[in-house]
């Protein structure tokens, strides 16, 4: 079962997805790149139609060169459509005031290399005509959030790719946008950074923000998107919610705690009355690699904090991506992610080919997961952290809910 299916849908998106305000409307969109002599060179986007509603996390999925980034640039008014019609918040993508409601993270770090991270945010804050105090406050919080609080005076040009993505993400959020367009947001990020970004996307959607995510990384899209379009050759090949696209209505999965062998045999016996043996599969669910990695890192970090041997680790962490000391931002993101984690059972690996008796015997023995988080404990803190996370993100992004 895909992880996305298991995310507790936030109230705003679930309501908004079906009936909410149309944020982006694309009809018959076509983009043909031409050469100097105006001869058609490449048809990057071909008769594309879709709508994105308020509160949705909408994924543009497709291989390289399929037209995702071109679509994003058309939505932002950076390219002019050859044919078709685009509306963003009911206006043309070139409408200047509409842009005050949009945040954009491009696929590369297209920031001014000679500015440091604080100057970068201050500059873009100025473009949004924020007051000085507001700019300072938001810059401070955003830098903390993306883990660059301690590298504020370094020029962006000196940043690693991951750090550049982080400052890019911060600039995209300086105006507390209603529509966030993220082009390959996890490109160049380490797994922790990827997770943070994905958690942030979910948190934004929970606050009623609309997110358009363009990526060729299936896991990114699968983890966070409500609805996706799949591009190939500039055309939409498939569109719908992940549930619609991925569900197998003719199969069923039952997840339980480890059962005694007798019970399991009884259950199987009952099932075999209606289903042939080859179609029944029993296996231990397992986490995906990302979840496992994050758990390991989290535990290692906790151990280091208690041992007090921090100085060496700070340098190593800094070189890995600017998180010298687990900053408040990370805690924030962890908090933001905890409700998700609590509500989201670990994804299940592909089922084993068939039942075998020896395996069945092994399966009926309880096997403690080596580093898995305590679900009970996680579930316990869920309501408190959800409230805290919302409150924190709300203050961070302008106090709106």
């Amino acid at each position: 079962m895909p992880a996305t299916d298991l995310i507790s849908p936030a109230p705003a998106p679930s309501a908004g997805t079906q009936t909410g305000e149309v944020v982006v409307s694309v009809r018959g969109l076509t983009k043909v790149f031409k050469d100097f002599w105006n001869r058609p060179k490449a048809r990057a986007v071909d008769r594309v139609d879709f709508e994105v509603r308020r509160g949705e996390v909408f994924g543009l999925l497709g291989p390289n060169g399929s037209g995702k980034s071109t679509t994003v640039k058309l939505l932002l008014g950076l390219l002019n459509p050859t044919k078709g019609h685009i509306e963003v918040f009911g206006h043309s993508p070139r409408h200047v005031q509409t842009k005050s409601r949009i945040g954009y993270l491009p696929e590369e770090s297209y920031l001014y290399r000679y500015l440091n991270s604080r100057e970068t945010l201050d500059f873009f804050g100025n473009i949004f005509q924020l007051s000085k105090s507001e700019r300072n406050s938001r810059s401070e919080q955003l830098l903390e959030m993306v883990g660059l609080g301690r590298t504020q005076t370094r020029a962006v040009g000196e940043f690693s790719k991951g750090m550049q993505r982080r400052i890019g993400l911060a600039q995209a959020l300086i105006n507390d946008p209603d529509l966030v367009i993220l082009d390959e947001p996890t490109a160049g990020l380490d797994p922790i950074g990827c997770r943070e970004v994905k958690d942030l996307i979910v948190a934004l959607a929970r606050r009623g923000k609309t997110v358009i995510l363009s990526s060729h990384l299936l896991s990114d899209v699968e983890d966070v998107c409500d609805r996706v379009v799949i591009y190939y050759g500039g055309k939409i090949q498939a569109m719908g919610t992940l549930k619609e696209l991925l569900a197998k209505p003719d199969t069923l999965r039952i997840t339980t705690p480890v059962l005694p062998r007798e019970t399991l045999e009884k259950v199987l016996e009952i099932i075999r009355r209606d289903v042939t043996t080859g179609e029944v599969r029993v296996d231990n669910p397992s986490q995906n690699l990302e979840s496992y990695f994050l758990d390991v890192v989290q535990k290692a970090r906790a151990a280091q904090e208690t041992s007090g041997a921090q100085s060496g680790a700070q340098v190593a962490a800094y070189l890995r991506g600017g998180v010298a000391e687990p900053p408040a931002s990370e805690k924030l993101l962890e908090k933001l992610s905890l409700p998700q984690a609590a509500a989201r059972p670990a994804p299940v690996a592909a089922p084993a080919p068939a039942i075998d008796e020896s395996k069945l015997s092994a399966l009926t023995q309880p096997v403690p997961a080596p580093v898995a988080p305590d679900p009970a404990k996680t579930a316990e803190i869920k309501p408190v952290d959800l409230a805290k996370a919302d409150e924190k993100l709300s203050s961070l992004l302008g106090g709106k809910k």
């Binding site: 950076l78 005050s100 590369e108 297209y110 000679y114 100057e119 500059f123 873009f124 100025n126 473009i127």
Partner: protein
Amino acid sequence: MQRILAICWLTWKAALRFRLFLVIAALLIVAVVGLPLVIKDDGTAQGFTQIILTYTLSSITALLGFSTIWLSCGTLARDIEECQIQVLATKPIARWQIWLGKWLGIALLNAALLAISGACVYGLLMWRASQLPPKVQQVLRDEILVARGSATPPTEASDIETMTDDSLKKNLQNHPVENPKDVVEMRRQIREQVKASLQVVPPEYWKSWNVDLSSVKGSLKDKPLRLRIKFNTPMVGATTTFKVGWTIGQTETPGWQSDLMDLSADTYHEFPIPANLLDSKGFLTINAYNPNNLPLLFPLEDGMEVLYPEGGFGMNFARALGIIFCWLALMSAMGLMAASFLTFPVAAFFSMALMVVVLSSGTLAESVSNGTVAGGNEETGVMGHASADIILLPIFKGLLVVTSLVKNFSPVDALSSGRTITWGQLGLAFGQIVLLVGGFFAVIGMILFHRRELATAQGNQ
């Protein structure tokens, strides 16, 4: 405005972080301090001061001009090529505001650099002047380190045309000419004769000029004036001097009379004349006597000029820098306009080419006055190529009109000859150079930038 100022601030940051500002400032200071050490002068304090002013201000203009074109092309074109514009253009800022912010940033950068280098030139001049003997200092203050108004005799342009037409008419009646081209040539020769007759002072003759100073009569009381003259002789490349006598007022009852002066031809000469010699209407009558056996020819345009004190050197110098600033502002508009639709190297090349057109306006003017863009065939007498002339001459005329709006100011010449650059001239320069011509480039640039697709570049950071 906050958005425009943010872009302006960004341009400053780029110039400072890439050390462009420091490098140009250092180069300017080296040019200002170093040039006086290597240039040769005529040995007089006036000559030295004039040369310092001319060379340093010209080199400042050239250096800042090139850096302005480079910077203005780079600041926009590189933003597009390196894709930073893709982030900026998705923010709530109109493209014209981006364009204007960049122009303002470069203009302020130029203003700062011009102020620094101008202050160095001014300080250097004042320091050098203070090292001279008091008498020489006084001469400098009278001739160069001063702002002087200027008055010239009427050019008699309309008289020349009338007399030319009359003479041509008579000639054609006596000797009819059928070919229109021959008529044109005949008129040109007659016009030169008429013009010469108004400029020439034959041997043993006097010639009078009336200079209207009525508008400044009141302010000239008790103030000595200076006469600046130049004459030519039929003897080309003459190295000898010619005697000229001068009187002011009616020749019969002159208010002042000079001894015969030994003056060389083809050179400007300047000498003082006493105060209070204007007649009751504020006119100054100048008479020149030619005792030589060759005619002397005082050009109508710049053969005779009366200079009178009007203000201090400091403000005059500042106004001269103001006109240079207007040129730089125009160059930045030109560079930004080119970068609005071209890549960086092509935009820089394009801007330089435009500069060459402006600087070669003399050639354009010659083509227009000859009525052809190509030289004629001496043997057949056929002038130019009709088809090329039909297309190019109107273009040249248009270009000349535009370039004259820009080039009709000569702050460096005015400063080195101690002439006043008035606030009116500065205002006119601002209006013509910055608002009119610069505004034209700005509008074109903003339109092109607005229409341009900004995401066609893939980034090459």
